[in-house]
Amino acid sequence: MTRTLVLIGHGMVGKRLIEALRAGEHGNDWRVVALAEEARPAYDRTLLSSYLTGGDAERSALLTPSVPDDPAVRLMLGTPAVRVKPGRRVVHAAGGERVGYDALVFATGARPFVPPVPGHDRPGCFAYRTLDDAERVRRAARPGRPAVVVGGGVLGLEAAAALRALGMRVHLVERSDRLMAAQLDAAAARVLAAFVAGLGVRVHHATTVASVDGGPGGAVRGVTFAGGATLPAGLIVFAAGVRPRDELATAAGLTVAPRGGIAVDDRCRTADPHIWAIGDCAAVHGRCYGLVNPGYRMAEVVAAQLLGRGGKTFTGSDASVRLKVMGADVASFGDAHARTPGAVEFAQLDRAAGRYAKLVLAADGRTLLGGILAGDARAYPTLRAMLGRELTIMPPGLLAGAASGR
């Protein structure tokens, strides 16, 4: 008997759930109804910057991703869900359609966080999350003019890279004393900052934007920093993090984690046995991940349950990330900050070459727990594959001595 899965959201994680489910099925156990807010099928959000800077072909590939013609999947684009009634196992879609479900999965993702500073909503201020955001930024960009990116995380760096590529003079404002603070340690962040600065991006560390100032007509004219200094700029991009989209679930009476996100267990299931949440909107044991890879893992965990192979749980706190922007190559993986009790850190820094590598090892000095690479992250795929294992091989490019080609 065919059952119905309703999937709210069609981002990368939602798409992965459908793929995993379809790949694992033998017959047609499940009919999938996917309610998508955006008017286009899921696209690779990590490629936003390439959208901005790339050519027409890359843009069109992103805008029209190929969606397999699958009769078991009904993709309702531009049709967000507006209400969920768990008691009756039904979802109301925009436009009035009601869809009954046997299983409901939230994959609503996250929304950009825009700090509530005065003037944050002036014309010329943008978020940086969707293709539509990217398109708006592209149209507003003026070569040679200053722009401000708020947020020195992965997204902020990508936005800065894109604006730089669009010819703007970019200022990056990071409230902490280092870029990618979640992923990097101080030494790696310095390497990255030096590299970014070398490309003409001015980084303002340890400060915040106190207000966005307007000019005639109310459009953005510049910003004022917390210390009082001002900076003229005609374009502001907020990339200061995201917040899980859990409002629909809240309205449906599902539990939300204290710091946001739909509360789920390590099988990504809510307290309602028919409802799951995956990706950026899900809080597994209270924690939101905000990265695509953990989202994929969650999708696989849920797919396994829907297919009756329920043993799999989401264990991955794998916050591994590799970022290549403006030619800077940084990566962070596993227990990058050596939080495991007894962990030891080994680091090599070549300041002149702008290379840094740190390995975090278990107390035995052998088992790889995590690490950080900056300037040259060629070793990243190998090291990530070695996580949790004894580090018995020397990943290519990791060690400066080997790399110098003596």
Binding site: R322, E345, Q348, P381, M386, I393, S404
Partner: protein, 477 residues
Amino acid sequence: MTRVVVVGAGPAAHRFVECLHRRGHRDPVVMLGAERRPPYNRMLLASVLAGALPAEAVTLPDLPAGVEAYRSATVTSIDRATRTVHLDDGRRFRYDALVLATGARAVVPRVPGIRWRGGLSPQVRPLRTLDSCVALGPGPVCVLGGGVLGVEAALALRRAGHRVTLVHRHPYPVNRHLDAAAGTLLARHLADRGVDVRLEREAVRYDEGLLVLRDGETVAANTLLLCAGARPRVELARAAGLAVAGGIVVDDRLRTDDPHVYAIGDCARYGRESGGGVARAWAQAETLAALLTGGRRRYEPVPAVVRLRDPELSVVALDRPRPRAADGRAETVTFTDPAGRRHAALEVLAGRIVRGVLYGLPQATAAATQLFDRDLPLPADRLALLLGTPPRTGTGDLPDDAVVCFCNTVTRAGIVAAWRRGCRDRAALGEATRAGTGCGTCVAEVDRICERLGAEPARGPATETGRLLAVGSGVTP
């Protein structure tokens, strides 16, 4: 005939006289020591202080036959015109070559109460001479100065069961040589061993049995052990009109500005190098002995290796002030293990250590010191060096069950299986396994696996063996 007169009877003088003899010098040698004891081994004073060794055990090996050695012989002046040294008792010795090995004297801090009637208060002992190390009285000991000597002495005294306080004016001990991380670990070790460590404190007064610190605290000190450093003894040289600047100035033949007068050891200054302990003193002694017996050696500064001497500690600081490789890639290697109390920080230039601190890494300490001493490149696998394990050889494969593609959870075994089924490149493997089709991060690794699977098995042995046998087919008559 070259008549050699040595002023001093410390380790530098002793080694010089020994080497001179070993190199065949049989002309007269006179050695004038100011102390009443025969030459002794200063490196073992802490052991004597702690009672582990009797004083007579640290006497240096007997001098070679034929050396005229005088004890309690205080030289008062040098007459360079007549090439004669004068002693306080009126004796005189003529020389052809005069070697000044007068050493250094302990620094006595200007703290009221330490000096007494023109000398030192009887409870105050500078840790420099054997006499000051014998017959230590009972009661608490305060070590003033947390440099290398102070730390070694404090630990040795604790082992011998004394109550010990270590007073040091800097934020961590051995601050001249260690970095903050190692210094902090060392302070913790001292505390664990029961040394009462007072950091960032200065002494302002010594009252019999009590040392008063600037903040008013008092430290029980039936004995006050001075470990505040040493200064070269240069009075004799200065009075003789020889150039003195932070030590008796010598050139790379260890010669002063008088061609008949040399200086070695703690009293000598070569370039910017002065003091430096026994390793440097011995290197100078050996070089000078070689030069005076017709050798053509020149003195080369000895790289500074500061190694704490304590059975439980493995701490070393390395410093090469003027690296030979002036340019090249500069690199910093660090290892931190707060829980295991291990730490290393190495500054590397052109692959060689120019500065470094290692704490709690016994094997790496030995290995790094050797590389540093001989200016050899670090192994490519620096982590293996620090951990004391064999290097990873760099050509190994990932384990079969290692996940290569995280986006699609593809293991190495999966890729290998697909390769064996005939997928020979990234595209074909991606189609078969989806490896590399997600974020693309792993494609380099997929390529590498592909390349290694495709590599020919080890070089063809048959032809090469044949070639060697041709090479090795016997001696040509």
